[in-house]
């Protein structure tokens, strides 16, 4: 009896292995290599990216009848590891496309590997690279300028004439400030201060006092995540009555938790997926965004509350659209296919994603337009569309 069981078990294992072998031989057709931060300080972004990608795989597991294989690696929030992951993916796994990652420096490291190995890379964060020298990379994220333009437009509509700025001392603070300085003069708005604070600071009382003393009509903040809540709390403490504006770096449940009542009525730009249910029915991204919500819920057994997982989903859609066209020209897994895939991505026309409608063209990393942003208002801990 025992030996019979053993034989049966062995047989079952052998059968399973053969099945796996056959499956992988078929699945090897298209390969997507994803590197994200599943651990380390960026994991609060990286984990949603990975979950979003799983949802995308479930939503569209086949392209032109061919299976897509997803390989996920963890970069531990470290740009060096991200670069190494990218090299592993292109050299050992021979992926057709790279995707990632949760931080801008790490995404740049991956893009450079993609360029050297002639493999297209779809970035999921804004990437600061010269598009003309990096013809193998594109990103589904919105450029910062597009988002800040929306904020400045809103300020103008709310009759704001002067605005005080307070942001991080790092690259993100600079990026938002530069975008604000570019957009504000055109709208006739004067930026009266450029206050900075470090992510780890305990208090911004000094900076906020200075801003309040200048009496601007509104305050623009350039922070991200939970440290971005600090100016909101300090402004409330000092009884500031003007409007407080944020940007997309603050669209995060942890920010909402920490800012509490001080964030009431704050206005900020985001991709429309955050408020998918509240969009008008004729909004181009509404249907796909609700589909995404449903499939995410089914795959991960939890609702989406962030913008990051949706970027992964959009990256997948852009890839799927381009791959279906590139497959007519070359066989997946070959160098010719990767060239065809890149050309196909750069000729993407009006692919509807959850964050926006994508049309890539050579010479630009970004592929979205005004349809990829809405202004939302924080109301009792919930994001409300502010049309």
């Amino acid at each position: 009896m025992k030996s019979l069981m053993l034989t049966l078990t062995r047989g079952a294992i052998a059968a399973a292995l053969t099945a796996c072998g056959v499956a992988s031989a078929l699945a090897a057709d298209l390969k997507v290599g994803l590197s994200v931060s599943l651990s380390g300080p960026n994991s609060s972004l990286g984990v949603p990216y990975a979950k979003g990608m799983q949802a995308a795989l479930a939503y569209k597991p086949e392209i032109n009848g061919r299976k897509v294989q997803l390989i996920v690696l963890d970069d531990g929030s470290d740009p060096t590891t991200a670069g190494r992951n990218a090299r592993k993916l292109v050299e050992e796994e021979k992926v057709d496309v790279l995707m990632g990652t949760s931080g801008v420096p790490a995404a740049i490291a991956m893009a450079q590997v993609g360029r050297d190995a002639k493999t297209p890379m779809i970035g999921l964060t804004p990437i600061l690279l010269d598009a003309n020298e990096n013809s193998w990379v594109m990103t589904v994220a919105q450029p910062t300028q597009l988002m800040i333009d929306a904020v400045v437009e809103r300020m103008k509509r709310n009759n704001v004439k002067t605005v005080g700025y307070i942001g991080f001392t790092d690259a993100w603070g600079d990026l938002v400030y530069n975008a604000l300085m570019k957009a504000a003069p055109e709208a006739g708005i004067k930026v009266v201060s450029n206050e900075r604070y470090a992510r780890a600071d305990a208090s911004v009382t000094g900076q906020v006092l200075k801003i309040v003393a200048l009496r601007p009509d509104a305050v623009m903040t350039g922070g991200a995540g939970t440290p971005g809540a600090l100016p909101f709390l300090a402004l409330q403490e000092r009884g500031y009555k003007g409007g407080v504006y944020g940007q997309h770096g603050l669209i995060n449940p942890d920010f909402v938790r920490v800012v509490g009542a001080a964030g009431q009525n704050a206005l900020m730009p985001t991709g429309p997926v955050i408020v998918a249910e509240q969009l008008p029915d004729n909004y181009p991204t509404k249907k796909i965004a609700t589909d995404f919500r449903a499939v995410f819920q089914k795959v991960n057994n939890a609702p989406t509350s962030d913008a990051f997982s949706a970027y992964s989903f959009d990256g997948w859609l852009v890839f799927a659209d381009a791959a279906s066209r590139a497959m007519k020209k070359a066989e997946p897994g070959t160098a010719e296919f990767r060239v065809a895939l890149r050309d196909a991505i750069f000729s993407t026309k009006e692919v509807v994603g959850t964050h926006g409608v994508y049309s890539f063209k050579p010479g630009s990393l970004y592929g979205v337009d005004e349809r990829a942003r809405v202004i939302v208002k924080l109301d009792n801990g919930q994001w409300k569309l502010a049309p």
């Binding site: 994991s43 305990a202 911004v204 000094g206 006092l209 003393a213 939970t226 920490v258």
Partner: protein
């Protein structure tokens, strides 16, 4: 700058200075008794704050597990040492001291981690929970190398900081937390100038605790033993004071201070797993102003650091920390100019 702005900045500075004062006292206490610059001090404060935040959201703080593991390690070290020396008869006492005593806060915390428990209990348990951390770390890590040079001790303590902040990231995640204020009272002084109750509480706690410190050091035998060990370890030993025991007392007091700091600042700043380090660093500046030995000078230094920081953030937010840490240069120059150069370095080698 107008008067009311200056007044607000001074209040803010004093509130921060009060925190640096408590942290500075802890650092000076440990350094003067054991010659260890206890870098993980701030991490312990962060653990207290984040444990309190975990209680408030109805979670069991993972700190419990860490304290339990440290207890097991310390107990194993102690029992191992006793067995090697052939003093097996003292094992029951060691088990009581190193196994049972640090486990009490763990059990209390476990019981308190449920909804409906009053906030005051949560705060008390969060402070108690971190109290064993420094003595346990000291037993496992510092006691075996108590006679090493200051530099070795500093490097070990730096390594401990990285260990603790890594664990903090693992336990509490990368995002920060705030706890509900201990008091929502606001005092109005004169024309539109208000001071929040939390600030009053912070400054008050600093005054009361430093007063208690003064009393303990001047009036009690334990305090005098601590001072004696600080002045001269060998001499203290000769008159019957056990440096190991006084060191543990110092670590225990410092850990308690760190816990109090944690619960005091958690409502006014967003605490992250690594927030403690910068608090410890600024307290270290204050302690340096006190020459790492003088409590009153440390207190003055801490308040100065707080006020300078507050004004610096008004003048130039981006350069705030640069200004605060630049304070060290004139202070160090002045100290090296004024100090009588004793044969301190040789003492270290002899010990």
């Amino acid at each position: 700058m107008t008067w009311d702005v200056a007044l607000i900045l001074v209040t803010d500075g004093l509130a921060n200075g009060a925190i640096y004062l408590l942290a500075g006292l802890g650092l000076v206490l440990i350094f003067s008794v054991t010659r260890v610059v206890f870098v993980p001090f701030g991490d312990i404060a962060a653990f207290a704050a984040l444990s309190l935040a975990a209680f408030e959201t109805g979670r069991v703080p993972p700190t419990i597990g860490m304290v339990a593991v440290l207890t097991a390690l310390a107990l194993a070290t102690e029992v191992g040492g006793l067995l090697r020396r052939g003093e097996a008869a003292r094992i029951p006492k060691a088990v009581l001291m190193w196994g049972v005593l640090p486990a009490i806060p763990c059990v209390l915390a476990w019981l308190a981690a449920r909804p409906g428990v009053p906030v005051a209990v949560h705060i008390a348990v969060a402070v108690l929970l971190v109290v064993p951390i420094a003595p346990l770390l000291a037993r496992v890590v510092f006691q075996p190398i108590a006679d090493a040079s200051v530099l070795v001790l500093l490097i070990v303590s730096l390594a401990l900081h990285f260990l603790l902040s890594g664990l903090g990231l693992l336990f509490f995640g990368p995002e920060g937390s705030r706890t509900t204020p201990l008091t929502s009272a606001v005092f109005t002084l004169g024309d539109g100038f208000t001071v929040s109750g939390q600030v009053v509480l912070m400054v008050g706690a600093a005054i009361v605790l430093s007063g208690l410190f003064f009393l303990v050091f001047e009036r009690t035998v334990a305090g005098k033993a601590l001072r004696a060990t600080a002045v001269n370890r060998v001499g203290a030993r000769l008159v019957g004071i056990r440096p190991v025991r006084t060191a543990l007392l110092a670590y225990g007091c410092a850990s308690l201070l760190a816990g109090l700091i944690g619960v005091l600042i958690a409502p006014v700043t967003t605490m992250y797993y690594d927030s403690g380090f910068i608090i410890g660093l600024k307290a270290f500046v204050a302690a340096i102003i006190g020459g790492l030995v003088s409590y009153p000078m440390t207190a003055v230094g801490a308040l100065a650091v707080g006020v300078v920081e507050s004004f610096a953030s008004f003048w130039s937010g981006a350069l705030k920390d640069v200004i605060v840490f630049s304070l060290l240069i004139p202070v160090l120059m002045l100290r090296s100019f004024l100090a009588a150069h004793s044969e301190e370095e040789e003492d270290e080698v002899d010990q």
